[in-house]
C-alpha cells in the first residue's frame, strides 16, 4: 500500500492537481499497485504546487511543482517508491526551508490531511480548545482571548478580547439572541490566507466560532463567504455537517447542553461587503450599504442584536489560544502586535505563498528570504502591502518591521498581511488610476466623496497622465484625496487615497513623464 497526497486546494487545482491525481491513479491501477490517494489541503507553498507527497517510514517526502506534463516521467522514475532520483524531489516536506522557517500556529495543520476528515482534525489536537472552553464560563474565555493580545486579522487590528467583552456585556433587545459572524469576504487582492485556512483546515474556524459563541452566549453563527470561493464553500459545508454529525455543532455540543448552529452564506461579488456593517446589511438580505457607527455591531449588529464580526483568521486563532493557553500566543510577536500573522506573498514574486511568522521581521527579509525576488527576474520596484487600500512602498521603506504600528508610522497599512510585488515595468500612475477606478466600481455609494470623488479621481489622474495642466491637477488630486479621507464613513473611500498618494509621493516620476516621451516609449 502506497499513500500519496495531492492537494485539493484551489490554487493547486488551478495549476493542474486534478490531472496529476488522475494520472497517479491510472498508473497505480495499470501496475497493480495498491494506492491510497489523499486529497489534502495545501501547505501554502504555492510556488511548489502541485506538491505531491509520498508517505515513507521516515516521514512524507515531497515533489514539486509537479506539472501535468511531468507526472508520467515522474511516475516512471519511481514516484510511488519515493524515489530520490528526480529533479522534482524536495526531501522531507517538513524540512523544506520555506516551511521549516515559518512559525505556524494557525496554519499548523494546513496541508497535513484531508480537510473534511473529522477524525484527522481531532487526532491533530482539534477540539482541545473547545473542550477547555466548555469547562470555563464566558468571562473566563473572554479574559483568555484578551490576555493573548490577539487583534483582528482582517486588517483593522482591533483588540479581539475587547470586542468580545462588549458583546459579552451587551443586552439583546429580545433578551436572548446574539450572533457570531465570520467575515470570509476576503476581497483584497494579494490575500488568500482566509481561503487557505477554510480549504485546508475548516474545523479550526468552526471550532473558533463555537468557542466565540460560548464566550458571549450566542447560539447562531454565520460565515459570510465570498462567492468567488466555490471550493471553500463546498469544504465548509461538508465540514459543518460532519461536525454536526459528530456532536460538535448543533444542540448539546459535546454533551454540554450548550447550543451553537452554523451556516455559510454566500456574498455576490461586492468588495464593499468585506466592510463589517455592509456585510451585516448583506446578510440581512439588503444592499450592502455601509452603516454609520455608532452603534457598534457589537451592540447593534445582525438583525439589531449584539454581534461579533471577526475575520476568518481571528476566529481560527482562537482554538490555539484556548488549547495552548493565552500566554503561548502572547509570547511571540513585536510591540503591541502579538502572536503570528499570515503573510501572503503574491503578484510578481518568484516564490509566492503563505508565510506565517511572528510579527517583527522586516518586509525586505520576507521578500528576499522567502520570496526570492520577482517571478520575471527583473528588479522589484513597488510593493503594495495590505490590499487594494494599502500604500505602495518604495525600496527605501522595505526595512520597516512587519508590525501594525510601524506600518502606520510610514502612512502604510499592514492590514491582512497581503504583499503584492511589482517589477520595474510597472507604471505607478496607472496603478494610482486603478485604485480610483476600483473605488468607482466597488463604492456602496453612501458617501459622496467616495462615490463621486473616485470618478473625479480617475478623471484627474487621466489629465495628469496626459500632461494637461499637470501642476494644478496634482494639487487638485491631493485636495480630492483629503476630502475622501475626511468625508467617508468607511475604509473604502477613506483609504483609497493611501495607494494613490503613496504612488504620487514615492513614484512621482511616473506622473511627470511628458506625453511625448510616453509615446516614444510606446512606439519603441
Amino acid at each position: 500500500m502506497v499513500k500519496v497526497y495531492v492537494p485539493q486546494d484551489s490554487t493547486a487545482k488551478a495549476l493542474g492537481a486534478d490531472a496529476v491525481a488522475a494520472s497517479i491513479q491510472i498508473f497505480a491501477a495499470t501496475k497493480g499497485i495498491e494506492l491510497e490517494l489523499v486529497r489534502n489541503g495545501s501547505r501554502g507553498i504555492f510556488w511548489l504546487e502541485p506538491l505531491v507527497e509520498v508517505e515513507t517510514p521516515t516521514g512524507r517526502v515531497a515533489y514539486g511543482p509537479v506539472m501535468d506534463d511531468q507526472i508520467d516521467s515522474l511516475l516512471n522514475a519511481g514516484l510511488l517508491d519515493a524515489t530520490t532520483d528526480s529533479p522534482l524531489y524536495l526531501g522531507l516536506t517538513e524540512e523544506i526551508p520555506y516551511l521549516a522557517r515559518q512559525q505556524r500556529f494557525t496554519f499548523a495543520r494546513a496541508g497535513i490531511a484531508d480537510p473534511v476528515c473529522f477524525d484527522s482534525y481531532k487526532a491533530q489536537g482539534g477540539y482541545v480548545g473547545l473542550t477547555n472552553a466548555l469547562a470555563m464560563n464566558g468571562q473566563a474565555i473572554v479574559d483568555e482571548v484578551k490576555t493573548s493580545g490577539l487583534r483582528g486579522r482582517g486588517g483593522a487590528a482591533f483588540p479581539t478580547g475587547i470586542k468580545w467583552q462588549t458583546v459579552h456585556d451587551a443586552q439583546p433587545t429580545d433578551g436572548e439572541t446574539k450572533y457570531i459572524v465570520c467575515n470570509a469576504d476576503e476581497g483584497d487582492s494579494g490575500t488568500f490566507a482566509d481561503r487557505l485556512a477554510m480549504e485546508a483546515d475548516p474545523y479550526q474556524l468552526i471550532e473558533g466560532m463555537t468557542i466565540a459563541g460560548l464566550a458571549v452566549g450566542a447560539q447562531q453563527g454565520y460565515i459570510y463567504l465570498r462567492s468567488e470561493y466555490p471550493d471553500a464553500h463546498r469544504i465548509l459545508n461538508e465540514a459543518i455537517s460532519n461536525a454536526e454529525a459528530a456532536g460538535y455543532l448543533g444542540e448539546n455540543i459535546s454533551g454540554s447542553g450548550r447550543t451553537f448552529n452554523l451556516e455559510v452564506r454566500l456574498g455576490a461579488k461586492a468588495y464593499i461587503c468585506g466592510e463589517e456593517t455592509s456585510l451585516l446589511e448583506s446578510l440581512e438580505g439588503k444592499r450592502g450599504m455601509v452603516r454609520a457607527k455608532p452603534p457598534l455591531p457589537a451592540i447593534v449588529g445582525l438583525f439589531g442584536q449584539p454581534t461579533i464580526v471577526n475575520n476568518v483568521l481571528t476566529l481560527a486563532a482562537v482554538p490555539f489560544i484556548l488549547a495552548q493557553g493565552a500566554q503561548a500566543y502572547a509570547d511571540v510577536g513585536f510591540g503591541r502586535s502579538r502572536g503570528t500573522l499570515a503573510f501572503q506573498l503574491a503578484g510578481n514574486i518568484k516564490r509566492g505563498g503563505l508565510v506565517e511568522l511572528a510579527f517583527g521581521l522586516s518586509l525586505k527579509e520576507l521578500l528576499e528570504h522567502f520570496g526570492s525576488g520577482t517571478y520575471t527576474g527583473r528588479p522589484m520596484r513597488a510593493v503594495q502591502v495590505g490590499g487594494p487600500l494599502g500604500a505602495y512602498l518604495p525600496e527605501s521603506q522595505w526595512d520597516t518591521p512587519l508590525d501594525y504600528e510601524a506600518f502606520a508610522a510610514q502612512q502604510a497599512v499592514l492590514g491582512h498581511g497581503g504583499v503584492v510585488v511589482f517589477d520595474d515595468t510597472v507604471d505607478m500612475s496607472e496603478q494610482a488610476r486603478f485604485s480610483m477606478e476600483f473605488c468607482v466600481a466597488e463604492s456602496c455609494g453612501k458617501c459622496t466623496p467616495c462615490r463621486i470623488g473616485s470618478t473625479r479621481g480617475v478623471e484627474v489622474i487621466d489629465r495628469i497622465r496626459a500632461n494637461q495642466n499637470r501642476e494644478a491637477n496634482m494639487e487638485l488630486l491631493q485636495d480630492l484625496c483629503e476630502t475622501m479621507v475626511d468625508g467617508s464613513l468607511c475604509a473604502m473611500g477613506g483609504m483609497t487615497p493611501f495607494p494613490v498618494m503613496s504612488a504620487v509621493r514615492h513614484f512621482g516620476e511616473d506622473f511627470s513623464r511628458d506625453t511625448a516621451t510616453q509615446n516614444e516609449e510606446v512606439s519603441a
Binding site: A14, S189, T191, K286, A346
Partner: protein, 165 residues
C-alpha cells in the same frame, strides 16, 4: 428552448419556498434563482417582492447592487478575468486586452455563438500564481494569452460535442 413565463414562475416559486424561512432570505433566494435559470428574470421581481413582503423597488435595488446578479440570459460559459493588483503585476492588463480582442466582445457581453460570457472579477484568491481566470467554478493559474486561447478552444469544442450528441 427558452422557458415559458409560467415555467419561470414555477421555478422562482420553488426557490422562494425552499429558502424563505431563513432569516435574511433574499440573497440565498436570488442565488438559487440565478443558479437554476442562469439569470434573474425581471418579471420575477414582483413575485419575490410579494413573497418577502417587500416592494419591487427594494428587490430591484438589491439585484442591481451586486455584480453577480444579472437580469438577462448570458452565454453558456462564464469566463471571469481577474483585474486586481496581483494579477496586474503579472500581466493581466495584456491578458484582458487579448481576451476582448480575440473574443470580439467587451466585459458583460456574450460571444456571437453564445458560448462565452466575459466578466471582470476582483480577486480569486489565487494571487501567488497570477494571472488568474475563472471558468465556471474552476480557476486557472498563470494564464498567458496563448493559454487563454487554448482554454477558450476547449470550451468551444465541448459545446460542439454537446450539440452533436
Amino acid at each position: 428552448m427558452p422557458l415559458t413565463a409560467e415555467q419561470i414562475s414555477t421555478e422562482v416559486k420553488r426557490s422562494i419556498d425552499k429558502l424563505i424561512a431563513k432569516p435574511g432570505a433574499l440573497l440565498p433566494i436570488l442565488h438559487d434563482i440565478q443558479e437554476t435559470l442562469g439569470y434573474i428574470p425581471p418579471d420575477s421581481v414582483p413575485q419575490i417582492a410579494k413573497a418577502l413582503n417587500q416592494s419591487s423597488a427594494e428587490i430591484h435595488g438589491v439585484i442591481t447592487f451586486y455584480h453577480q446578479f444579472r437580469t438577462h440570459p448570458v452565454g453558456k460559459h462564464n469566463v471571469e478575468i481577474c483585474r486586481a493588483e496581483a494579477c496586474q503585476a503579472m500581466g493581466s492588463r495584456t491578458l484582458e486586452r487579448h481576451a476582448k480582442e480575440s473574443l470580439g466582445i467587451d466585459y458583460h457581453q456574450t460571444t456571437g455563438d453564445g458560448a462565452i460570457f466575459l466578466e471582470p472579477v476582483y480577486c480569486l484568491g489565487n494571487c501567488a500564481c497570477s494571472p488568474s481566470v475563472r471558468i465556471g467554478d474552476r480557476v486557472h493559474a498563470r494564464v498567458t494569452p496563448d493559454r487563454f486561447d487554448a482554454l477558450m478552444e476547449e470550451l468551444r469544442t465541448d459545446k460542439l460535442e454537446v450539440l452533436n450528441g
